[in-house]
């Protein structure tokens, strides 16, 4: 009984949050709504008994990814509301909705597979995290190491790409300075392009 209430509660919350992220023209609203959404998703994970995953969701996703986005937003001076020239918006929504309906229709169809047995059956005796640890470090060891390397590469890439001229901080500069900087950077790129 509680589980149903929890499911519907969190489901509506997540949907509302994500709709805000998608629909709003304010960057800040989008960011905060998404962070909230993430938290509720981790709640789902806990409902589904994937505690370790819920934790990871909170730490990595909401913590790290949202943080970087926050930083990114600050960097791209999206304080003002984001003006976007959109062509035939209604078409997009209709298309998305229609796709959703179709997938739902497929999902609703009775899943007839009977011979699908679990590779790594869950036995509730052992704690979720321990069990995941067991599976992660035996069967998925190689992907795990690869993921590690991938994260390392991503980190380095992030640093390299965003490293140059970090000294100028937009937030501290005055309006006209930023405009000037843009003008110089544009001209700079032009000469680069020129010779």
């Amino acid at each position: 009984m509680f589980e149903a209430i929890a499911f519907y509660l969190f489901a509506t919350l997540i949907t509302v949050m994500f709709t805000i992220t998608v629909m709003t023209s304010q960057a800040l609203y989008a960011l905060t709504a998404m962070a909230a959404g993430m938290i509720f998703i981790s709640a789902f994970f806990f409902i589904l008994g994937a505690d370790f995953l819920g934790a990871i969701q909170i730490i990595v996703y909401t913590g790290a990814v949202m943080a970087i986005y926050a930083f990114g937003m600050m960097f791209f001076d999206t304080t003002r509301n984001v003006i976007e020239k959109r062509s035939n918006p209604r078409f997009v929504i209709v298309l998305g909705a229609f796709a959703a309906v179709l997938v739902v229709f497929i999902v609703l169809a009775p899943i007839v597979t009977t011979n699908l047995e679990a590779h790594y059956p869950i036995d509730l005796a052992v704690g979720n995290t321990q069990a995941i640890g067991m599976v992660l470090f035996t069967k998925y060891l190689v992907p795990f190491e690869l993921a590690a390397i991938m994260l390392l590469v991503a980190m380095i890439a992030g640093i390299v790409l965003a490293g140059k001229k970090m000294d100028k901080s937009l937030t501290l500069m005055a309006e006209e300075e930023i405009a000037l900087m843009h003008a110089s950077s544009v001209s700079e790129t032009l000469e680069e392009g020129a010779h």
Binding site: V92, L95, G96, A99, L102, F105, I106, A109
Partner: protein
């Protein structure tokens, strides 16, 4: 005996190749002499063969295989029997005379050598036509003569009218050749072979309608070559060629090939009498039709051409009524005096510097005495006056028509005999009698070379004696092969009345012609502008009709076929398909315009389409399964 056969056949070919060697170089008399000599040899060997055949034998030789495919086996076989030896004699005699004559006639022409090569090539193909022992050999000669007549009519190719006439002749002959080809196909598929002996032996076994069709198709082939009614316009235009050509080809040999075919295929035609009567009636019609056209014509050579056409009509009447040997006899006699007439006309043309209109000349009796005698002799023979050849062959045809109770044909032929006499003597009177109209044109005629006149002499002799001397020996020989039917009217009285009557009628016509044209000729406009005169003068407007109905629309249709159908429809569709593919490429290319959001949209559209398919397929699949279960 085979050696003579090969000599008779290949002597003209050797002459033609010899003359062809000098084709491009200027005039050398040797070519003329060599070709005439070789033809004379061919004539001599034909004479030998004649004597051999007269003694009752025939020569049949097979040189080599020509076409052997499946069950079809066609050899180069040659047979010399009664019919072909007569034709060989006619062809060789007339061609030897014409060759010698044209040495004189063509001596100012720069294409001298080329002319002799074509003329000998013509004689060679005529010999093949006459001597071959199967229908396809006949067809080789048939088309060979067509080719040579195309070369010779268009000999003076710088003249537009000559080359046009040559093409017209060739194409019109080709139309008839198609019918003949179909006849040959029918023969092959029904009888298994094209050899004369096999065909004539088994023709009886075929059902009647097939034989009729074979007879009709072969006759259409003959009609084209002998310029019978619907396909006759080319003969008048063929007068563009030099006169010896007209004499040899369009009087004596080629045009008679059609008659030869009907005579040779007599077993076929004797089985289908109603086709025979159809041929006879067509022949009578053509005789009358051509004679009327000759009455008013103002071109010397065309008058003689129409008279040939008319005489061919006579021959077809005889052949149609089953009197094959009479047709052949008239063919032989006619060849001699008609060639003589043409050669005489050639002399006159030469003297008059190629002036053809008899109204612009006159009184040549004085300056061209011998030509005058020869031409009058030929005209008398043509008219059919008693002692000469014409009487024995042409009046015989009248008798045939009378005995066979075809009184309509008889009257038509009688009338035409009168017309023939009238227009031939109109021509003679205009040219040789009356005042010398050519003087005011400043032309001073002179007699032809003596050797030319000597060349024409044998023809004159033959024109006189051919009737009386040859009739009985010829009859005895030919009836070995052809059905020996004799035609004589039982009670003497009607016989005498008929012969005397025709003679008187003919003499009357001659007298009238002399009276009208021998003296000073006054051209009265009223008659000239009359409807009948115009009708006859323009050959019943048939050439114009043919031009309007056939050649012009054919050209328009082909231009239409090319411009509209080929370029605009067939080609356009092909290019259209190619263009369509190109355009689809062009339009879908904008899909990748680099704008991420539009590309994303296309991706989602793709996804949706796939989903729809998945759903539709599973729905369909389930529906079928549920229904099946």
């Amino acid at each position: 005996m085979e050696v003579y056969l090969y000599i008779a056949l290949f002597a003209p070919l050797v002459g033609s190749l010899f003359a062809a060697l000098f084709g491009a170089s200027p005039k050398t008399v040797i070519t003329g002499l060599v070709t005439s000599g070789l033809l004379f040899i061919s004539f001599v060997s034909s004479a030998f063969l004649l004597s051999y055949v007269m003694s009752g034998h025939t020569v049949h030789v097979e040189m080599m295989t020509w076409i052997a495919a499946g069950d079809l086996y066609i050899p180069f076989g040659f047979v010399v029997d009664q019919v072909s030896v007569t034709m060989m004699m006619v062809v060789t005699i007339v061609s030897t005379v014409v060759h010698i004559y044209s040495i004189g006639y063509m001596d100012h022409d720069k294409g001298f050598n080329r002319f002799f090569s074509y003329l000998s090539a013509f004689v060679f193909s005529m010999m093949i036509l006459v001597m071959s022992d199967n229908f396809l050999g006949l067809f080789i000669g048939w088309e060979g003569v067509g080719l040579c007549s195309w070369l010779l009519i268009g000999f003076w190719y710088h003249k537009e009218s000559a080359s046009w006439a040559a093409n017209e002749a060739f194409i019109m002959n080709r139309i008839a050749d198609l019918a003949m080809l179909i006849g040959i196909f029918m023969l092959y598929w029904n009888l298994g072979s094209l050899q004369y002996d096999v065909v004539f032996a088994n023709i009886g076994t075929l059902p009647m309608h097939i034989i009729t069709w074979i007879g009709i198709f072969l006759f259409i082939g003959a009609m084209g070559k002998s310029a019978q009614f619907p396909l006759h316009t080319w003969l008048a235009d063929a007068m563009e060629g030099p006169t010896p050509v007209s004499a040899l080809i369009h009087a004596a040999t080629m045009v008679t090939a059609g008659v030869y075919l009907v005579v040779r295929a007599n077993p076929i035609y004797s089985l289908i009498p109603e086709v025979g009567t159809a041929i006879a009636s067509l022949g009578a019609f053509v005789a009358m039709f051509a004679a009327t056209m000759a009455l008013v014509n103002r071109d010397m050579k065309r008058i003689i051409a129409y008279s040939t056409l008319s005489q061919l009509g006579y021959m077809f009447v005889a052949a149609g009524l089953g009197a094959y040997w009479v047709a052949l006899f008239h063919l032989m006699a006619h060849a001699f005096f008609k060639a003589l007439l043409f050669l005489g006309a050639g002399n006159v043309m030469h003297a008059m510097h190629d002036e053809l209109d008899p109204f612009k000349m006159g009184g040549l009796k004085k300056s061209m005495k011998w030509t005058w005698i020869l031409m009058t002799l030929a005209s008398v023979a043509l008219a059919g006056i008693y002692p000469l050849a014409g009487f024995f062959s042409k009046d015989l045809i009248l008798e045939v028509a009378f005995v066979e109770h075809h009184y309509v044909l008889y009257t038509v032929l009688l009338l035409t005999a009168g017309l023939t006499a009238f227009y031939s003597f109109r021509l003679v009177a205009l040219i040789f009698h009356g005042n010398e109209r050519h003087l005011e044109h400043g032309i001073h005629p002179h007699e032809a070379y003596t050797f030319v006149l000597y060349a024409m002499a044998p023809l004159a002799v033959l024109a006189v004696i051919a009737g009386m001397a040859f009739k009985t020996p010829y009859y005895l020989m030919v009836t070995h092969l052809l059905p020996a039917v004799t035609y004589h009217i039982h009670n003497h009285t009607t016989f005498w009345i008929m012969t005397i009557g025709t003679q008187l009628f003919v003499i009357l016509a001659i007298a009238y012609a002399y009276k009208k044209y021998a003296k000073a000729v006054k051209v009265d406009k009223k008659v000239e502008s009359g409807f009948f005169y115009q009708l006859l003068y323009n050959q019943y407007f048939i050439p114009k009709i043919y031009d309007e109905v056939f050649s012009k629309p054919y050209l328009k249709l082909s231009k239409l076929a090319w411009k509209e159908i080929d370029l605009k429809i067939v080609d356009a569709t092909v290019d259209g398909i190619a263009n369509m593919i190109y355009q689809t490429g062009e339009k879908t290319h904008t899909m990748q315009n680099g704008n991420l959001s539009s590309m994303l949209r296309w991706m989602v559209i793709g996804l949706v389409v796939l989903l729809v398919l998945a759903v539709a397929f599973t729905a369909g699949y389930n529906a079928v399964n549920l229904q099946a279960m």
